[in-house]
């Protein structure tokens, strides 16, 4: 009885998996908000493409892989969605990826970063609008690495940290930099002074940091006068709540995935205005444009297939597809379906009337420049 | 002599079991009132109900002129009641000293005096003053429990089978101590050692199946073999 529901009735259904609760709640909400805006934008507010109505259903993964699998299965089997979008954590996403293949539905990965999603765990149904760890790393390297520069790294002792650093190392060494020392700390630790001590002893030019999580080392870096000792700190700019904890790092040079001031294009202007309008004057944050990009990518693909949700066709039209997003033009690379995208070399500066250090543009890092290695074969 | 404690048709449930089904008795000032009865008759439950540790569902308990059956155990205790439970109720992980200290009000010279006196009766406690009380011998625990109740200056003392596990000579000392206290402290005693009960008891009640079924002067029971056989099964 369930079989007749779905696309044939002229509705296209999209299941969005995101962390609506749990530690990544704010990321999840950014994605969902962005996605909603993206659909509006791409369909000019009609929520229709090629005469078909688009519906989307949000499910909370709670940042637990087993829940993600349950919810994804529900979306695929009960709601019979035509696309999956998600999710906020790489773990959840990795757990869901095989389902996309099994049910032969396109999954647009956003904003999970693990390389393996479009690398070792790749399958043809996966497209990722989010940047991956390697892109981060390449951007991070591009921002600081030069011939002869000595760099030490600091990261949490887990997959996220280790993957991030190894990708960075590869990229930085390619640019001729010298990685002196890699330091890893307990991801749940509170005291990083021992680690910082060790880094200081190495006397690098730069300290490159990969960090996620609330228990950040920023204060301790400042307290231990790392910069006074001639070591420049560099890291990725996170979302606004986390930027608030980075006041000690004003002046730092690093990279950014997105900050609403950075991209200069129409889509982004629209996003910022619309977002402020709808969400009591708040600006879009780190993963809002990602959610939007995912929606735009889906609509663009459907336009190309004229509303046909057959996955083979969709894959064919999406491979190599370029589309306009708040971050400029993105292109799904044919080989591994990773969207090549602009990233930003930035500097944190304090700004009048803003209670957090603001990422200001040094230069745009073009999609080609930050293209990560292809690793799905 | 005036009545200090009076129970009127007290009934008590434990969970869904109707344990006390009508206990009535009085304890007069300056007397030792003894509750007798076979195992499971409800003697301990009676004492616990007086203490407020089990709640009476029916009936009244008067302490002096006050009804106390609705009060909390600590309120009852603070009205001047002491309790030596049948399982000693000592705090095994605390030392002998700490067990006693817990019961004493601070800087109470009267209590200190009483402590002196009680330690003379039970010199073992003095000897093991700093010992963890859970490691004491059975009889020593019993002594500690009695001593702990004695140091508090109370008007009414409920003692549940004090003689069990005590050497004959210690039983004698306990008896003497009770005699000594009598004028200041009224005592309700549950005792299976008939020799002891008969020596120090003034008045007795027999409890059976949760009811008081007979009462009289101790003298009467001692003199009346028939009565003993009927109610206690002993000659």
């Amino acid at each position: 009885s369930n079989g007749e529901k779905g696309s044939s009735e002229g509705t296209i259904k999209i299941g969005v998996l995101a962390s609506m609760t749990g530690p990544l709640e704010s990321y999840g909400k950014q994605t969902v908000n962005g996605f909603e805006l993206g659909l509006d934008y791409a369909t000019d507010g009609s929520n229709e493409v090629a005469g078909k109505k688009i519906e989307f259903i949000v499910e909370d993964t709670e940042t637990k892989p087993e829940v993600a699998v349950k919810k994804a299965t529900k979306l695929l089997e009960d709601d019979e969605v035509d696309f999956l979008v998600g999710s906020s954590s790489s773990g959840d996403t990795l757990a869901v990826v095989p389902l996309a293949e099994e049910y032969e539905k396109i999954m647009v990965v956003e904003p999970a970063v693990a390389d393996s999603i479009t690398g070792s765990e790749y399958n043809p149904y996966i497209f990722r609008t989010a940047r991956n760890s390697s892109q981060d790393a390449v951007a991070g390297a591009a921002a600081i690495a030069k011939k002869g520069v000595k760099i030490a790294t600091f990261a949490p002792d887990n997959s996220f940290g280790r993957d991030g650093i190894s990708a960075f190392k590869e990229a930085a060494e390619k640019l001729g930099a010298n990685i002196l020392h890699e330091e890893y700390a307990d991801p749940a630790g509170t005291d990083f002074t021992s680690n910082i001590q060790k880094i200081i002893e190495q006397q690098p030019d730069y300290l490159f940091i990969v960090w996620a999580g609330a228990n950040s080392p920023w204060n301790q870096l400042a307290d231990m006068k790392v910069e006074e000792k001639g070591i420049k700190i560099s890291t990725g700019a996170p979302d606004i709540p986390a930027l608030q904890t980075m006041k000690p790092l004003v002046g730092m040079e690093g990279f950014s995935v997105y900050y609403h001031d950075l991209p200069k294009n129409e889509v982004n202007d629209w996003l910022v205005t619309e977002h402020k309008k709808r969400f009591n004057n708040e600006v879009p944050d780190l993963f809002t444009p990602g959610g939007m990009s995912a929606a735009i990518a889906i609509v663009e693909a459907l336009k190309k297939t004229d509303g046909d949700t057959n996955s083979e066709q969709l894959i064919e039209s999406m491979e190599g597809m370029s589309f306009e997003t708040p971050k400029g033009t993105m292109t799904f690379r044919e080989e591994d379906h990773q969207a090549l995208q602009t990233l930003y070399a930035i500097k944190l500066e304090s700004k009048e009337g803003v209670d957090y250090p603001v990422p200001t543009l040094i230069r745009e890092l073009s999609p080609e420049e930050t293209a990560p290695p292809i690793r799905n074969k | 002599m005036s009545t200090l404690l009076k129970l009127q048709q007290v009934e008590t449930y434990i969970e869904e079991f109707h344990i006390l089904q009508g206990i009535s008795f009085e304890a007069r000032k300056g007397e030792v009132t003894v509750l007798l009865g076979r195992n499971g008759a409800g003697k301990t439950t009676t004492l616990r109900t007086i203490m407020g540790l089990n709640k009476a569902s029916k009936g009244q308990i008067f302490f002096g002129n006050e009804e106390i059956q609705t009060l909390q155990p600590y309120e009852i205790a603070n009205k001047g009641m002491g309790y030596v439970p049948e399982d000693q109720g000592i705090f095994g992980e605390l030392t002998v000293e700490e067990n006693i200290k817990v019961a004493m009000k601070k800087d109470d010279s009267q209590s200190l005096e009483r402590l002196e006196w009680i330690l003379q009766i039970f010199p073992d406690l003095k000897k093991f003053w700093q010992k963890q009380s859970g490691l004491l011998s059975g009889g020593q625990k019993q002594m500690l429990s009695i001593a702990r109740a004695y140091v508090k200056n109370c008007e009414l003392l409920l003692i549940d089978e004090p003689s069990k596990g005590l050497a004959p000579i210690v039983v004698e000392k306990v008896m003497e101590s009770i005699q000594e206290m009598k004028d200041k402290t009224t005592i309700i005693l549950v005792e299976q050692n008939f020799m002891m009960a008969s020596r120090i008891g003034d008045y007795f009640y027999i409890v059976d199946e949760g009811r008081t079924v007979y009462d009289g002067k101790m003298q009467e029971l001692i003199g009346n073999k028939e009565l003993r056989e009927k109610h206690l099964g002993i000659a």
Partner: protein, 255 residues
């Protein structure tokens, strides 16, 4: 005649307190021996040493000629030593019947059977029920042990020991807190076991009448030392025993 249990210089110290000190004795099979002594003399501790709850600091214990000083409680029980505890020590949230049935199960050496329901061991329940009757615990089969009155718990304690059916019985104040009415019956149970002449009994009691009537022999412990050891008549005449243990009360018992 061989002695069933024997100690050589048995002793234990807690810190510098010698609770049991250089105790030597040998008890013949089927003999009924009582141990008396003031509170804290070391009677229970001696039992704990014999049954393995405590490990001796020095000396040896022999059971049926075998040195068991190093054996665990479990091994000793299996060799045939059973004991009851002074402070009631049962399984509080099991029913009276289940308590005794566990002892029966141990006696039958059903240790690791996990594929058969206990209910298929009908005989266990029967034996348990008989023992409960003997120990005056009728109509209490389904009562949880923790809900028994104090005296009934003492009876249960005894019932579990009887169910173990060991060669040697160590009884630690079995009748303390039992009602005057029930003591004679329990006394009879013990006496009957004695009369059967199949078991050796060691009894700790403070009830002198019971001791005098039952004992073949009395040992007196004082401050951990074996002060006197002999026939009841001799012991009762001993002056130290009179003054330090009995006080003036003994007359009452004989009177």
């Amino acid at each position: 005649m061989t002695s069933i249990i024997e100690t050589k210089n048995l002793g234990i110290s807690f810190g510098n307190h010698k609770a049991v000190d250089q105790v030597n004795f040998a008890i013949d099979e089927h003999q009924f021996t009582s141990i008396i002594g003031p509170n804290g003399a070391g009677k229970t501790t001696l039992f704990n040493l014999l049954s393995g709850q405590l490990k001796a600091t020095n000396g040896d214990i022999f059971f049926c000629g075998k040195n068991i000083t190093k054996c665990s409680t479990v091994e000793r029980t299996r060799l045939g030593m059973g004991r009851s505890f002074q402070l009631t020590n049962v399984f509080p949230n099991l029913t009276t019947l289940e308590n005794v049935r566990l002892a029966v199960q141990a006696q039958k050496k059903i240790y690791f059977q996990m594929l058969k329901s206990v209910f298929s061991y009908k005989d266990h329940s029967e034996i348990a029920k008989t023992i409960l009757k003997t120990t005056l615990l009728v109509n209490k089969d389904d009562v949880l042990a923790k809900n028994l009155s104090h005296g009934d718990k003492r009876k249960l304690e005894l019932a579990m020991l009887l169910a173990l059916d060991t060669k040697l019985l160590l009884l630690d104040e079995p009748t303390a807190g039992m009602s005057v009415e029930d003591v004679p019956a329990i006394y009879e149970v013990i006496e009957r076991i004695k009369e059967e002449k199949t078991k050796t009994i060691l009894l700790i009691e403070h009830k002198m009448d019971m001791i005098m009537n039952l004992s073949d022999r009395i040992m007196v412990l004082f401050n951990g030392k074996l002060l006197a050891d002999g026939a009841p008549k001799e012991i009762i005449a001993n002056e130290t025993v009179q003054s330090a243990y009995l006080g003036g009360l003994y007359d009452e018992y004989t009177a």
